[in-house]
């Protein structure tokens, strides 16, 4: 440690501070380490006096003293006994705050190397973990990771964090789904042994598998399933089941449960998904958000979770080129505008949160972005709490850090003003009683006017030196000179030159310039225009002095003596009114709503009504909608409470139901294994998907969101209603029978892969996957039954089998509580599945795609299966070479309940046309054709008691068409779900207008940002992710990309 020389108190130039801690190791003297040299033990006692001490958010003591010794605070107050051996530091005019805590850091932890590791439809699989040892089966479950064992002090990064006010961080290895424990350390540049505050301060989790190369999980729903299963496995492992042996990962998982549980979710929907996992297993995560939570703040508040927020606000984009700007979505533009309001939204909603420097490209942005958040309404006191008390309390270390109190660590900041003031500088950041200089040059207010006397052989000239800050000053002779100035607390550098004469004016001789620039009372010639005088010196007492060279290169000596203080402009008061911004839309998309549409009573008059019931198609008929239901059907209806829609010349049908859809989900395929019945589409719905709206515009009101066809037993499906604007849970079709997706044939045997190593590789193997899965499920069910019987016996040793989410779903199938919709094409595989089902005594509910269904329609009929097919797709792969457009017609004629589905976000918005193809191919009656996209799917999905036809009492899921709905010329005019109009042509026109205007407003705002010199990045197209059943690549109409990359990039 360098010698601290304190100047006597004086108004100016009183200090010559600024010694960085020169010795990194040993200042806190660790006793077991041998000393190479002479022992240098120090008491390290300091007294900071006359400071405004902010102990915590509530308590501020003016003119107070804080005494610290050996890294801890020993006393704070106004009349405290000063230890004799204390080095006294006068902090008049200074503020002292507890330093900040960053609860979400990977400081001092090696950054794991990322690899491309998403599920690849064509690549080989990695079925088992690559981690060697007695660890978990899944490579992404690594709760045994102990950050304290891999932590090393990182001086460079510590310095950056200290400069932003941080003193303590919780750091962990950001890798894997269960990431192990985080270690709480200070940012002292000291030996690791001395900076660790708490070895295991939190347990960390994420929704991203990190560097795991294992194929499973390859989707967000797989991540969720894996987390859920691991909770169950750990619970089961408590009994030390012999068949599991030693599982160090599960043991560590259990050991970590007592710690604060931190989940990196990184997105508003993921936040909710994570919280639901926690709810299921009695865990309240501290959720690390993604910065878009303001878009769903009420849902976020309902989680009751504390959050970790970052200040990683997006930059404005360069939208000068309209052709580039075209591909920046309104949602992305609005997010740019509204992202800084995220912390304020949390404060307003009364949600506890911490602030973290994580995710910033440059930690230096932290304080400036925080100030931006203040502009958007975050209060300073809340921010202070979010950086001190909240994280300390969440981690249970408020007795050590987070406020200034006797006994706590001496982790504090010395500032020259209120901590978050626009002009306030952090002068020093003390960590564990060690001082680290930050902006010590601003310890004293050097602003003011000085007399600058420059002496050379020719004599002395006097100038006026006006100092505005440690990097800004002007030398004034007769005119203001071009000046460069810097002061770092010790060394002064000053250079100045006369401005070059302006063009067009007579430049004259050097003499003219000399005269013009002559110093006050100067006897020597002033500096020549353009030539520079260079001065260098040190601070001492109440003046600076030093030597230099004038513009002619002559040696000079100089003195600057303080004359008068500058205008002491106090911190500008913060903007009282937050900046004008657009509103949040629900969902957060151009076509979203500022105000959600409400349920209405509606009377449709004089329409052609396709009832799908015995009445058939009724001409000039009225339908009354009340309370979300179809209330009346007939002629000449009236209702005073209802809005009347004239249906003259128009057609009214039940809403279209798409039996096979992949919209509105964050992931579709969990292809990591051949059996993944544990994953659930319903776990990862995405209400922001624009295709919901687009499909409403095509008359769709319900969609069955299926898992993809990457494996034989895929995931649990989700029936949704297209309630555009509502949250993920509210999209779900209430009280429906649960379904699951199966798949057969080329996709599950991975025909397109030249290197498949995942069983099965043939249709023979596919059948055995099914046989094996259901055999295991039956044995599993028996195991549970036997265990329960045993456990009912008095005195019996209780048995708890392992709960297996995968087999649970299969047992439900065996017990007719879950229903299969199976992707299938050729007759051999269809028959094979029928026989498996026969053997296990369940029914295959639906065969989907089923392009060779016409060949075995009789067998399907006998079995009681439904059929859901494409209208006219064929010949895109080997197994559909015999597909025919007459398939639906034949199956219908044989007596099957036949649906036409989309499996395609574009086709889904014209399923009415797809149904019409059976009129063309096979001569189906028009009403029967329409039923294939309305009533028949309702039947196949067991919801025909509520939707699929126009009958009094059913849900008011209705579409008004401009023409016969089977006509190519028909357009949906109004689409309602539960009596709520989510699409109609007038509302749509208003939305289009809004998008144009709002986008233009934001373009102008971004242009202004660029003009004003703000940071701007190249325009970044906002690609939509379209998921589909069979491929891994996804198309957005412009380019093709790999979704796993997007998944990674979004991180």
């Amino acid at each position: 440690m360098g010698i601290l020389r304190l100047s006597p108190p004086g108004k100016f130039f009183s200090m010559l501070l600024g010694f960085l801690s020169l010795t990194f190791y040993g200042a806190l003297g660790q006793v077991t380490f041998p000393v190479n040299g002479v022992a240098d033990p120090r008491a390290s006692c300091f007294a900071l006096t006359n400071a405004t001490i902010v102990k915590d958010g509530q308590t501020t003591i003016p003119k107070a003293t804080m005494v610290i010794r050996e890294g801890r605070i020993i006393a704070i107050g106004t009349s405290i006994e000063m230890p004799k051996d204390a080095v006294v530091i006068d902090c008049s005019g200074k503020y002292i705050y507890p330093s900040f805590i960053d609860i979400y850091s990977d400081y001092g932890i090696p950054v794991p190397e990322r690899q491309r590791n998403g599920f690849d439809f064509r690549g080989p699989s990695q079925i088992t973990s690559n981690t060697k040892g007695a660890y978990n089966w899944n490579q992404a479950i690594r709760p045994e990771t102990d950050a304290s064992r891999i932590f090393t002090t990182d001086d460079a990064r510590a310095k950056l964090l200290r400069e932003s006010g941080f003193g303590t961080v919780l750091t962990h290895e950001k890798n894997g789904i269960a990431r192990g424990t985080g270690v709480l350390v200070t940012l002292a540049s000291e030996k690791e042994n001395l900076v660790i505050i708490k070895e295991k301060a939190a347990a960390h989790y994420s929704m991203n598998k990190g560097t795991s190369t294992q194929s499973y999980p390859g989707s967000i729903m797989g991540v969720i399933a894996l987390l859920r299963q691991t909770y169950l496995d750990a619970q089961w492992y408590k009994s030390r089941p012999a068949r599991e042996g030693v599982n160090l990962s599960l043991q560590a998982w259990l050991d970590n449960q007592g710690l604060p549980q931190i989940m990196e979710a990184n997105d508003k929907w993921n936040d909710l998904r994570a919280d639901r996992i926690g709810d299921e297993f009695g865990v309240q995560y501290i959720i690390k958000g993604g910065g878009n939570e303001y878009q769903r703040i009420n849902d976020i508040a309902a989680t009751k979770a504390p959050y970790i927020l970052t200040l990683n606000f997006p930059q404005a984009q360069d939208v000068e080129d309209p052709n580039d700007a075209r591909f920046v979505s309104l949602a992305d533009m609005k997010h740019w505008e509204l992202a800084p309001s995220n912390p304020a939204a949390f404060e307003k909603a009364n949600i506890p949160f911490c602030l973290s420097s994580a995710d910033l490209k440059d930690v230096k942005q932290f304080l400036s972005n925080l100030r931006k958040a203040f502009d958007y309404g975050l209060t300073e006191s809340k921010a202070f709490e979010a950086l001190t008390k909240t994280p300390a309390t969440l981690l249970g270390v408020y007795d050590k850090v987070g406020s200034l109190e006797a006994g706590k660590l001496a982790n504090f900041l010395v500032t020259n003003g209120p901590i978050f003031g626009e002009k306030t500088a952090i002068l020093q950041n003390w960590v564990q009683g060690q001082k680290y200089g930050v902006k010590e040059e601003e310890w004293n207010d050097i602003r003011g006017t000085y007399n600058l006397a420059i002496s050379s052989a020719a004599g002395t000239s006097n100038y006026s030196l006006e100092v505005r800050g440690s990097n800004s000053a002007s030398v004034v002779g007769k005119d203001t000179m071009t000046t460069k100035f810097s002061f770092d607390g010790k060394i002064v550098k000053l250079s100045f030159s006369a401005p070059v004469a302006k063009k067009g004016l007579p430049t004259g001789s050097g003499d003219t310039a000399s005269r013009t620039m002559a110093p006050r009372g100067g006897r020597m010639g002033g500096p020549r225009g353009g030539a520079t005088s260079r001065l260098s010196g040190v601070a001492g007492g109440s003046s600076w002095n030093g030597n230099g060279e004038d513009s002619a290169g002559n040696a000079i000596v100089w003195t600057a003596t303080f004359l008068k203080a500058g205008t002491n402009s106090q911190d500008s008061t913060r903007r009282k009114f937050p900046p004008r911004t657009g509103k949040v839309l629900f969902p957060f998309d151009g076509y979203g709503w500022e105000e959600l549409p409400k349920q209405e009573n509606i009377l449709i008059k004089n329409a052609t009504v396709w009832t799908n019931e015995n009445e058939g198609r009724l001409e000039q008929t009225d339908v009354l909608v009340k309370g979300g239901k179809i209330a009346q059907l007939g002629k000449g209806l009236s209702d005073a409470t209802a809005r009347v829609i004239d249906g003259t010349g128009k057609h009214l049908t039940a809403g279209i139901i798409d039996e096979h859809s992949h919209i509105a989900a964050a992931s579709i395929n969990e292809g990591g294994q051949s059996v993944t019945s544990e994953v659930r589409i319903g776990d990862n719905l995405n209400p922001d998907d624009i295709n919901i709206y687009r499909q409403l515009s095509g008359g769709v009101t319900s969609s069955h969101i299926l898992h993809g066809s990457a494996n034989t037993i895929g995931g649990q499906t989700q029936l949704i209603k297209l309630r555009w604007g509502l949250g993920d849970e509210d999209l779900k079709f209430r009280n429906w029978d649960p379904f699951i997706k199966f798949a057969l044939g080329e996709n599950v045997k991975r025909t397109t892969s030249s290197s498949n190593n995942r069983f099965p590789d043939t249709r023979m193997g596919v059948e055995e996957v099914l046989m094996d899965a259901f055999t295991r499920a039956r044995d599993y069910e028996n195991e549970w039954k036997n265990a329960e019987a045993n456990n009912r016996k008095k005195g019996a040793q209780p048995i708890t089998p392992r709960r297996d989410l995968e087999l649970d779903a299969l047992v439900e199938i065996l017990n007719h509580k879950r229903f299969i919709t199976c992707h299938s094409y050729v007759q051999s595989e269809i028959t094979a599945l029928l026989r498996v089902a026969d053997k296990f005594g369940f029914r295959v509910n639906t065969f989907t795609h089923i392009l060779e269904g016409y060949k075995v329609a009789d067998k399907m009929k006998q079995h009681g299966a439904n059929a859901s097919t494409f209208s006219d797709w064929w010949a895109y792969k080997m197994e559909v070479q015999d597909a025919i457009a007459y398939n639906a017609a034949i199956m219908q004629k044989v007596g099957l309940n036949v649906c036409i589905n989309s499996d395609d976000a574009e086709q889904a918005r014209r399923l009415n046309q797809e149904a019409a193809k059976s009129v063309k191919y096979g001569g189906m009656a028009e009403e029967d054709a329409l039923k294939m996209v309305t009533l028949n799917p309702a039947k196949a999905l067991h919801v025909d008691d509520r939707v699929g036809s126009i009958r009094v009492g059913k849900d008011a899921d209705l579409v008004l068409w401009s023409d016969n709905p089977l006509s190519i010329y028909a357009r949906a005019l109004t689409t309602m779900v539960d009596g709520v109009v989510y699409y109609d042509v007038d509302k749509d026109a208003a939305k289009r207008k809004y998008i144009l205007e709002e986008k233009n407003r934001l373009v102008q705002k971004m242009l202004a940002e660029k003009k004003s010199g703000g940071p701007v990045m190249a325009a970044q197209p906002s690609f939509q992710i379209l998921l589909s059943c069979g491929d891994h690549e996804h198309h957005d109409g412009l380019v093709t990309f790999d979704v796993s990359e997007i998944f990674e990039n979004n991180k």
Partner: protein, 423 residues
């Protein structure tokens, strides 16, 4: 009786087992044929109720109002609609039988600059897809090679042929340039710059080709340069496959520099720059109307109404169907939906007949029902643009009445038979 039926069905299924292999191209037209009483849609905007179309030796000899018996072989088309054969302007028909099976895929060659690659060579006249497509009224298809940046030359094929030479309707009529995307789809590197570099490579190729042609004697013959000769002479068309405004502007810059007759294929954003396209006389092949908007903020029906916007602005355009799942059979409905969103039905029809013929440079021979043109004609039971009434019952290519049977119909009949159902 029962056994007779069974025997009949058995014989039928045996007969039908070799699906499609029994469908033969037809013999040349002999004798004059008059289609009478049908509603004639000429393809150039006109509609003639109770009309008459007469053709002889493969050529149309008369089109007009039915004015009494003709003394010719009359086919009564009462209640039906008569149209020019539909033209698929951008297709890989005949080059790819089953998309996912590599062995059946002949549409994309290796290499970046392949103007000398010729689609006609690999055209499989026996493709099962062809027979399926033509039974929906599509009688001509422009078959385009797909690989690389300059993918080669397309040929217009007529869909009733023994072999590719027999099928050629217009050989090597277009050279195809697949413009790299001028959009920053990745934050890594500078994809737009990379694309521009590739585009400049193409420009250099054409500059060198032009210079090469100025010299008549060559010690070394360059096949690639030789293959674009007719592009410079205006006999070939330059088809630029691109969708975005900047890409289309680059296409125009090629048109201007080299004087090529230029057509945009794709043109998702062509509605944004209709005046610009019109000014430089650029035509557009809208690849597929059944497409999602490029951006989530776009009008949800923007692709459906793009044809109307082009029509309104006077840009020459046609509609094609490149759907790889339904295999190009829905051309008429791509036009139909454009009619639901602004085009008149006759305009929509023109977008898949005469306009396509113009863009492909075959309008002197086909595309409309006009005297002197080839008798490429279809008769539909109802409005051909509307799915539920679109049933093509007669079709003639160069006057030859073609067999509208196909593998799918045969399988239909086979299983109707198996289950004893009524057709």
């Amino acid at each position: 009786m029962k056994s007779t039926l069974l025997i009949f069905l058995l014989s039928l299924s045996v007969y039908r087992l070799c699906a499609q292999e029994n469908i033969s191209p037809s013999r040349p037209q002999s004798g004059d044929i008059a289609l009478v009483h049908g509603t004639v849609h000429t393809g150039n905007g006109e509609m003639i109720p109770d009309g008459l179309v007469v053709f002889s030796n493969g050529k149309i000899t008369e089109v007009g109002k039915y004015a009494g018996p003709t003394k010719l072989t009359e086919i009564d088309c009462s209640g039906k609609h008569i149209y020019p054969g539909l033209i698929s302007a951008a297709s890989i028909l005949g080059l790819n039988e089953i998309s996912a099976v590599r062995a059946t895929s002949d549409e994309a060659e290796l290499g970046d600059i392949n103007p000398n690659i010729r689609a006609a060579i690999a055209y499989n006249a026996d493709s099962k897809i062809i027979y399926n497509v033509r039974s929906n009224g599509i009688l001509l298809a422009n078959v385009i090679p797909q690989g690389g940046i300059i993918s080669g030359s397309s040929s217009v094929m007529q869909l009733d042929a023994w072999n590719w030479e027999d099928a050629v309707y217009r050989l090597d009529g277009g050279i195809h340039f697949n413009m790299p995307n001028l959009v920053r789809f990745s934050t890594e590197g500078d994809p737009v710059k990379d694309a521009m570099d590739q585009i400049e490579g193409v420009r250099t190729f054409f500059r060198q080709a032009k210079a090469y042609m100025h010299e008549t004697r060559h010690e070394q013959t360059n096949l690639k340069f030789e293959s674009v000769r007719k592009l410079f002479s205006g006999e070939q068309t330059f088809f630029v496959h691109c969708d975005l405004v900047k890409e289309m502007m680059v296409a125009v810059s090629f048109a201007r520099e080299f004087g090529f007759r230029t057509v945009i294929v794709g043109g998702i954003d062509s509605w944004k720059i209709t005046d610009y396209l019109k000014k430089y006389n650029i035509s557009v092949v809208l690849r597929q109307v059944f497409t999602l908007p490029a951006m989530q903020d776009d009008d949800v029906d923007i692709i459906y109404k793009a044809p109307f916007l082009l029509q309104q602005a006077g840009v020459m355009f046609c509609i094609s169907d490149a759907n790889e799942s339904s295999r190009y059979r829905n051309l008429a409905f791509n036009a139909g939906v454009a009619s639901a969103y602004g085009l008149t039905r006759e305009q929509a029809l023109q977008a898949i007949t005469l306009n396509a013929a113009k863009i492909l440079g075959i309008d002197n021979r086909t595309g409309s029902l006009e005297k002197g043109k080839d008798a490429n004609i279809i008769v539909s039971e109802g409005d051909v643009l509307d799915i539920r009434t679109s049933l093509v019952s007669l079709a003639f290519i160069q006057g030859r009445q073609i067999d509208l049977d196909n593998k799918q119909k045969q399988l239909y009949n086979k299983y109707i038979g198996k289950f004893g159902l009524k057709n």
